[in-house]
Each structure stands twice: as C-alpha cells, then as structure tokens.
C-alpha cells in the first residue's frame, strides 16, 4: 500500500469499459457479435489528438499498466517503471492508452465473462484469438476514441508482437513502433514450453474441459504449475543464482519433498498468487496467440516482404540474458527491417535479469527508451505544424 502516491506516478486511475456492437470476424472463422474492451488512460489527449500512445500487454498483463486503483493497492500497474510524469512514456507529453486484450480475464470479453444474452460464462467456448485479431480490435478502439494516428505503439514480449503486426496490417495508422524483447515468431522450444504449461492446466482434475467456473472450482494446481514454468523462462540462470543461489529456507535440508531451497519457495509463491489473479482458459488462449504469431506467413514466409509494408519508424530493444526471446530474435527483426529499408534503431541492453528485464528500469534501457520517446514527442510537434 502506498502511503502517498509517488510524484512520478500517474496516481489513482479508474478503468473504463467500451462496448462494441459491430461484429468482429476472427482469424479462426468465428465472429464475436459484440464485445467489451476495458481500458485505462493516462495523461491528456491534445487538441488535435496527435499525442496518443498505445501500450500492448504481454501474456499475463492487462489494462492496468500504471498508477493505482485505490490507496490500498499493494503494487502499481505492471509498467509503472516506464509510464508516468518524467518517465520514458511521459504522461506530461503523451496520452497513453492500455487495454486488456480480447480473451483476457480482467474485464474485456473473455472466458470469464458471460456470453451476451445468456447466463453462461464463455469458459472454453471463447474463440481462439490471434495477435491479428487483437490488432483489429485495437483499431476499433482507436476509431471509438477518435484517434486518427498513434504517435507510437509500444509493447514488450507478446506486446511487441502486437506492435509488429500493427506496422504491417495498418501501416498508416502509427508513426513509431517500439518493439521490446520480442520475436518475429516462436521457436519450437518456445512452443514446447507453452505446450507443457497448457498440459499442466488441462490435466488438472479440476479443469473439467474448461467448464470449471460452472462447477465453482478452478484448476489451481495446473495454473500454478504453468506459472512456475513460465517464471523460470522469464528469469536467467544468473539472476536466479543471484536471487536465491542454493539458499535453504530453513537453513537445513529436510530430507523430504517439501520446500528445501528458497527458489522452490519463491516459485510456489509466484504460482499460488497467480492462481487467484488469472484465469486458466485465458492462459490457454494467450499461449495459443503466441504460438500462432507469424506475420511473415502471409508473405511467403518472408519477413522482409512483410515489413516492407510498414511505414513506421522503429526502435527495437533486446536484453543480453533474455533466453525466452533472446537478442538473436530481435536481431532477426532488425535485420529484416534494415533489408526492408525501414528507419530503425536497435539496441541490445546488457542485463542479467532475463526476459523480465523489459519491466525493470535498467539505466541504459531507460536512457535509450527516453531518447527515442523524445523523438516521438518531437514528431508530434511536426504533425501539429504541418
């Protein structure tokens, strides 16, 4: 709980829900006849609506990217490190919008919301959504808010993939694309990890083929396992060694199968606390969206051709110890952008925190981010004067 709101925080924020009646045709062939998107906004939209920035969230993220909902909140939004007055995504300059993606479990239409006109939860019947579908829904939101062009779209990990998809599908609707700790598509190893997570959830006896909400239960063990596995891939060997080493929780070995080492205790805690915050069906949907992401597949598997459609200017960022989406993957994106003759800067930040580094205010990362966002802000003035 914050005693007082830090000066560089956006402070107390209230989400808002936007209802959409226009049917949305999805990649899977199904149609969402109507849906809700829950969003948060920070900062002020300027008179000519040229300072809007869209934030795309990652696998377990949501619309609550910055600030606090109440003074009782233990933690601020998930990207508090980068969003706020004087921070790289400076709310004194930008109007920042973040939404919970379709299929999420934090207020947008998804497995935990009711099917319109019915008393039933969507549960496992919520259609499989793709990154492309999300981008389409985000574009609808853009129209609703009366924004003609984003000053920038920014995202890390799965969020960065949405940014890439935006630049290809709606090139004229954004000026800058910031793609952090992402990949142009998943590797077999990435998909393998996702599959183990899904199996953990689906083989939990409380899963009930996804209809657990109707039975008033949850596949807690499965979600916990999925999260524990995910968490290992977000950290690096070095950061785990530094954080936990082989430290024992009770100072001695217990010669049993309960927690001996601190790292076990940490993972169990992370897994357990996730169970209360996140929905199992949403976890399945999000991992599928990751697996299916492959924008080059529509361009004969040629990423360069795909990115030739883009007109935005790019900043691509990776982190040295990230092995979930390693620097090599960001280099693939950068190399394709260079080959497509796009404007791009690429920086590899030396960091030991693994994939999680994209959420951590590492000085060099923040400096590069800040320098680039200043450029985004300068372009707003240019748009105004033209």
């Amino acid at each position: 709980m914050p005693d007082s709101i830090p000066e560089n925080s956006v402070g107390l924020v209230t989400p808002e829900v936007h209802h959409f009646d226009e049917p949305l045709l999805l990649d899977c062939g199904k149609t969402l006849e109507q849906y809700d998107l829950i969003i948060e906004t920070y900062g002020e939209l300027n008179a000519d609506k040229s300072n809007a920035v869209l934030i795309c969230h990652a696998l377990s993220g949501d619309h609550h990217a910055a600030g606090y909902h109440t003074m009782d909140d233990r933690k601020p939004g998930w990207w508090e490190s980068a969003i706020g007055p004087g921070k790289p995504i400076d709310t004194n300059q930008f109007f920042v919008i973040c939404l919970n993606n379709l299929g999420g479990c934090k207020g947008s239409s998804g497995p935990t919301t009711k099917i319109p006109g019915s008393d039933r939860f969507y549960g496992p019947d919520f259609p499989i959504v793709t990154v492309k579908d999300w981008v389409r829904s985000q574009q609808r939101l853009m129209l609703r808010l009366g924004i003609a062009q984003w000053a920038a779209i920014i995202g890390g990990s799965l969020g960065g993939m949405q940014v890439l998809q935006w630049t290809i599908d709606f090139p004229s609707l954004l000026r800058h694309a910031i793609v952090i700790a992402a990949a142009p598509k998943l590797t077999a190893q990435n998909i393998a990890f996702n599959e183990v997570a899904r199996q953990a959830i689906m083989s939990d006896p409380e899963f009930h083929e996804g209809h657990y909400l109707e039975k008033n239960t949850k596949p807690k063990g499965g979600v916990m396992l999925a999260r524990m596995l995910g968490h290992i891939t977000y950290l690096s060997d070095d950061s785990m060694r530094e954080k936990f080493g082989r430290e024992l929780r009770e100072g001695k070995l217990n010669f049993g199968f309960d927690v001996d080492f601190q790292v076990e205790s940490y993972l169990r805690y992370q897994g357990k606390s996730f169970v209360d915050k996140f929905d199992a069906n949403t976890y399945l949907l999000m991992t599928k969206a990751l697996d299916y992401f492959d924008p080059a597949s529509e361009y004969n598997d040629n990423l360069v051709d795909a990115l030739k459609k883009a007109t935005a200017k790019f900043l691509v960022v990776s982190f040295t110890s990230d092995w979930r989406f390693a620097p090599e993957r960001s280099r693939e994106i950068s190399q394709a952008l260079v080959a497509a003759n796009r404007e791009i800067s690429y920086v590899e930040i030396t960091a030991h925190q693994g994939h999680d580094a994209f959420l951590i205010p590492i000085p060099e990362y923040m400096a590069a981010f800040d320098a680039y966002m200043n450029k985004v802000a300068r372009d707003i003035d240019e748009v105004k004067s033209s």
Binding site: L315, R331, S334, Q335, V338, A339, E343, I344, S345, Y346, V347, E348, I349, T350, E364, A367, A368, A371, Y372, N374, K375, R378
Partner: protein
C-alpha cells in the same frame, strides 16, 4: 557546428544525397552532420550503449552490433553508396575480412586509421626500444584496443593483394590539420592519420 577535421575532410568526399553506412559511428556526429548539411541518409553501427543513446538523441539510425561478427547478416550487396570507417579498422579482429564485406555492401569506402609508420612511433620503437605511445595511439601495449596496427605501406600492400583500388589518400596529424609539405613528400613518415577512399577494382 564545428566538425572534427578528419570528419570534415571525409564529408567533402561524400556526394550529397548519398546513402552511407558508418561502421563504429560513435555518437553519430558524422551521420548527423551529413544528414543536416548534405541530405545524406543511412545507418550507423556501434557497440557502445552510451554512444547508441546519443545517436538516438540525434535522430540517427543506429544498430547495436559487434563489427568482429561482420556485417553480412545485416546488409545486402551494394546497398550503400559509401561505407565509412573512422579509426576502427585497427581494432577489428579480422580487418582483411571486414574490408571484403565493406566493399560488398558498397562499391566505395572511406577508411581512416592511425599510421604506425609515423616518425615518432618509429623512433620510440627503433631507438627507445618500447612500443610507441603517441597522440593518435595513446594506449600502452597492454591496454590498447588497437590489435592490428599498420603503416600506409602495409595498408596499400593489402589493397594490392585484395584487388582494392585506392582512389584518394590524405594524411593528417593528430589534430587532423591538413598536411604540411613534409607529409606530402613522406606521408608514411610524417602522416599521423591516414584517410583513404577505396573501391573495388
């Protein structure tokens, strides 16, 4: 804006409106200057994070990469009008291979390096019996990043071997003042820094 004299000399050699690649671009000074004065576009390659931030601040496109890993992964053949490499060749692990890559991505290149044949260096090694420390080579042998030092003669021999044609050559002193008559007559002895415009034969 005043530009370092060697960069100013290089900028005179580059045609306005060109597309250039600056290998080891540092804080992006040259690219920014050429963009603002000669409508030049392109990329810089740099390995230092702080320099990269400065490039971004100057609105210069910069790619974080290690030149020791080559540039073939990034750039297609003949994708630039010029490649510029100032004072970086001598710090590269395989300068001869990088030169080949440079002349693959661009028909023309401008290369500068400190001349190991400079008289002061020769005196220090020949008479003093120790590795030279000069204004253009300020490091000691144990902490120098310059692992492949050469003289004008060495570089020109390599060019012959690799079928590289030298279009222009200039030598300057460490303050990068344009040459005096000694430098003109005996460049390999009195030139501290060499600047070459090279091309594929």
């Amino acid at each position: 804006m005043s530009l370092r004299a060697d960069l100013s000399l290089i900028s005179e050699w580059i045609k306005p409106g060109s597309r250039i690649l600056d290998l080891g671009c540092g804080d992006g000074t040259l690219l920014k200057y050429l963009r603002d004065t000669a409508n030049v576009s392109g990329f810089g390659i740099e390995i230092d994070q702080q320099d990269i931030v400065k490039c971004i601040e100057s609105d210069v496109n910069v790619i974080h990469a290690d030149l020791d890993e080559g540039i073939n992964n990034y750039f297609d053949a003949d994708s630039f009008d010029y490649v510029v490499m100032t004072q970086a060749l001598q710090a590269i692990r395989h300068p001869e291979e990088l030169l080949d890559e440079v002349l693959r991505v661009s028909s023309d290149a401008i290369i500068t390096f400190p001349n190991m044949g400079y008289w002061s260096g020769r005196l220090q090694l020949g008479l003093g019996g120790h590795m030279p420390v000069t204004k253009s080579l300020p490091n000691h042998w144990y902490n120098t990043p310059n692992i492949h030092l050469c003289t004008l003669k060495d570089f020109e021999n390599l060019c012959v071997e690799r079928s590289i044609r030298i279009i222009k050559r200039r030598v300057v002193d460490s303050r990068h003042k344009h040459g005096n008559w000694l430098m003109k007559i005996w460049p390999n002895l009195f030139g501290e820094i060499a600047i070459y415009h090279i091309t594929k034969k």
